[in-house]
């Protein structure tokens, strides 16, 4: 590990031996990081490696348990996000954090509006400053328009304008490009370069490795909450970076078994939900893992929800084993052998305060019944059986699900649905926010299920996961299916090109 402090100027913002725990989970372990003026620094690491915690520490959202935050070499304590902002630190979060009811201008200047006499807001100056920022970004957005209903890309633009508006000394961007198209990314990079020339320090996070190599000078890699390396990017290859991030061979993380696909289990034809997705057709065969890739907001989750019957569709049809499903009827979908493991396990997949046993038992409420009453014994043995098969790590099966780690929670959701013996399993972001070890286990499980003849549709924003696990990759862009790529042809480039609409 080299430290560049002997060459360049002093770091404007630095973390020194930062540790942070949430309950029993150690999110950051003795992590150090230096950000220099006029430099774009990449932060690399897998989901769950601690990137978000690190950013939130810099942004004053989290207070570190140990270690120091140094601003211009002096230790500082941020008591809240306001302190960090006043110190000149701007953060663009992965999920845009806008106020839907307020205008774009108000969103940008919230907390720092131009004032008139008697402390009143100068609405006119706010509007004009916003219009100026929009011109600088080369964007046409009405400052008076409410943020509600803005596309993800436009929301991101507002976030960037917010950061620009107070001439931040440090700009932190958490996957700002995830939802942007090629031309929008180019414009964003233009802004980043301008800021860099003006002497700002930039911390850049992206899952698109080529972007890291395009715009960053240095990279710090995190794995499981610890810093692996902090080094110049020059002379490094993508493979080197991936190896540092993953810390093991990719084969072990993606234990895909080769299978010969059987007959069609799930068939979706010309499915349309007005304004959400259009004319989506695909098939998933027994034994196959089909990856569904695309940017956030491309409509992948919405297709899955419609197929499962949570949302209604306006046109098209869905068949499981050749039998049509009723529109908008999850119970019919379940009866036909469909299972959906949703994206947001805390909100949709689990009842957090209920026990592991009861959570797994939820899908069996109709089968574990004797004389119209719940058969608690049957429920317990069914739940125990699946918890053991999925190697869920818990103290007692009667413990609340909220006491488990993210990875084990995800296993409980999987157990809950696997207990229904599905023919078709739809998993939405199955490994988001879980550690590398559990991730590999989830992958092994999915691979095993496919080998046993289950048809698996896997939605994922994790490109290596899609490439490593899927027999075929479907790609969505703005509500349409733009590509179907066989495993042999699927690369980061081909998938991203289709996901950003660069190919027809």
């Amino acid at each position: 590990m080299t430290h560049p402090s002997d060459t360049g100027p002093a770091p404007v913002l630095a973390l020194k031996d930062i540790s942070k725990s949430f309950g029993a989970v150690r999110a950051l372990k003795n992590v150090s990081l230096e950000l220099f003026p006029g430099q774009v620094h990449a932060l690399a690491g897998e989901n769950g490696a601690g990137k978000s915690t690190l950013i939130k520490t810099l942004a004053g959202v989290h207070r570190p348990d140990a270690g120091q935050v140094l601003l211009d070499g002096e230790p500082v304590v941020f008591h809240g996000p306001g302190d960090a902002r006043d110190a000149g630190i701007a953060v663009i979060y992965q999920e845009p954090t806008l106020f839907p009811d307020l205008s774009i201008a108000e969103n940008i200047f919230m907390g720092r509006r131009p004032r008139r006499a008697l402390g009143r807001i100068d609405h006119k100056a706010t509007r004009e400053a916003t219009a100026g920022l929009m011109r600088r970004l080369g964007v046409e957005l009405d400052p008076d328009r409410p943020a509600r209903g803005l596309s993800i890309a436009d929301q991101q633009i507002v976030e960037i304008a917010k950061a620009l508006s107070f001439d931040a000394r440090v700009l932190i961007m958490d996957e700002p490009t995830a939802a942007l198209t090629g031309s929008e990314v180019a414009r964003l990079f233009g802004v980043v370069r301008t800021l860099r020339e003006q002497g700002a320090a930039v911390l850049f996070i992206s899952h698109r490795l080529e972007e890291i190599f395009e715009i960053c000078e240095r990279v710090t890699t995190l794995r499981d909450g610890a810093r692996i390396a902090s080094e110049p990017l020059q002379g490094m290859g993508e493979d080197d970076l991936v190896r540092r991030m993953v810390g093991r061979d990719l084969e072990a993380l993606y234990p895909k078994q080769d299978v010969t696909p059987g007959e069609v289990a799930l068939s979706v034809r010309r499915l349309t939900r007005e304004g959400v997705f259009t004319d989506v057709s695909f098939e998933v065969r027994r034994g196959e893992i089909v990856g569904l890739a695309g940017l956030v907001g491309a409509g992948r989750t919405e297709v899955a929800r419609a197929v499962f019957g949570v949302d209604r569709w306006d046109a098209g049809e869905v068949e499981v084993d050749g039998r049509g499903l009723t529109n908008g009827a999850p119970s019919a979908a379940m009866a036909a052998g469909l299972a959906l493991v949703p994206e947001d396990r805390r909100a949709q997949g689990l009842v957090m305060d209920m026990s592991i046993e009861r959570n797994i038992g939820l899908t069996g409420l109709r089968t574990t019944v004797r004389a119209g009453l719940m058969d608690r014994g049957a429920e317990r043995s069914r739940s125990l059986d699946w918890a053991v098969r999925l190697q869920v790590k818990y103290a007692r099966i009667a413990d609340a699900v909220s006491t488990l780690s993210g990875g084990n929670q995800q296993k409980v959701v999987l157990a809950k649905w696997l207990a229904t013996g599905p023919k078709v399993l739809i998993v939405d972001e199955p490994t988001r926010g879980i550690d590398v070890g559990t991730k590999a286990e989830v992958h092994r499980l999915l691979s095993q299920l496919a080998a046993d003849g289950v048809a698996v549709l896997m939605i994922s924003s994790d490109l290596p996961e899609i490439l490593g696990m899927a027999d075929r990759v479907l790609v969505m862009h703005e509500g349409r299916l733009t590509a179907e790529i066989p495993r042999s042809d699927a690369t980061e480039e081909t998938v991203m090109a289709a996901a950003t609409g660069r190919v027809a």
Binding site: G82, A84, F99, P100, M110, R113, R120, V139, R145, G275
Partner: protein
Amino acid sequence: MTVTAPNPASAAEASASSGSRLADRVFKMRELAILAVFLVMIAVTQAGNSEFLSQQGVKDLLLNATILVLVATGQSLVVITRNVDLSVGSTLGITAFAAGTYLHGGGNPVVAVVLAVLLGVGFGLLNGLLVSLGQVPALVVTLGTLYIIRGIDSIWVGSRQITAADLPGGFVDFGSGGISAVPYLALIALVVLVGTAYYLKHYGSGRELYALGSSPEAARLAGIPVRRRILAAYTFCGALAGLAGALYLARFGNVDSGTGNGYELTVVSAVVVGGVVFTGGSGSVHGAALGALLLTSVNSVLPALGVSSVWVLAINGILLLLAIAVDRIVALRVASALKKRNARHG
């Protein structure tokens, strides 16, 4: 997406400004709609009973609305932050009795009003502290304080009663007097209303109330002092409930341990009918005031038309459901309009 190089800039611009015009229209429409319903109702009643809009009739209409307008104004601030204060009825009852007891002992009317406001501030602070520090849902916390304050009131008041005879004549005259058809009390409410509306629009902390109701998480990340703002909203709400208590005493001259019982539900109805969205972040105090005017006018309209007043509650309920239905439909329409616009320029 509005950000597209190939699109002619003019088209993008047109779409952006029509988007904001649409939103503007929707929000102004809401208050105009209530005003229209109110005016139609008054016109119909006047047609059926020409005595209705006499000077005394107008004055009664305004007097009846005053107390509710005040409390609804305070409540709006709390609802805008995505909270609720159910204890306003109890606060109104106890502050009215406190002011009455003080006046009965020969106190100064101005001091009595200040006393009532300060007592209201105290209860508002209590609510605000419990909600902002305790991180407990406001509905439950203020339901608790509703009963606690009512309990204290019952123990303290017992079977006693304050009547107009116990109060200084000037105080009671002020409560029913006015400048021609406009009661003094309504003027007070108007001043409070206009002041609050101005504050909400033109001061940073006022806009921050909308911000934190719109998205609490984003508010925290934007460095808005969320707890302090919520505390302030509750304190203001309590203060207005206290002021309303004192004005209630002046208007009716009659207070016992049951005063203000169940009033919180009328207040919440007025706020919701007035277009302050229960999930926070949008609505206005003048909307809430119009809602209050509409609800209290139903009380006067029905007798004037010879309809039994037993219908009042049912009609209030219908207005409430209508308001919520309209909100929902408008929200869906706007969402789909914006979505289509985005899709067209995507």
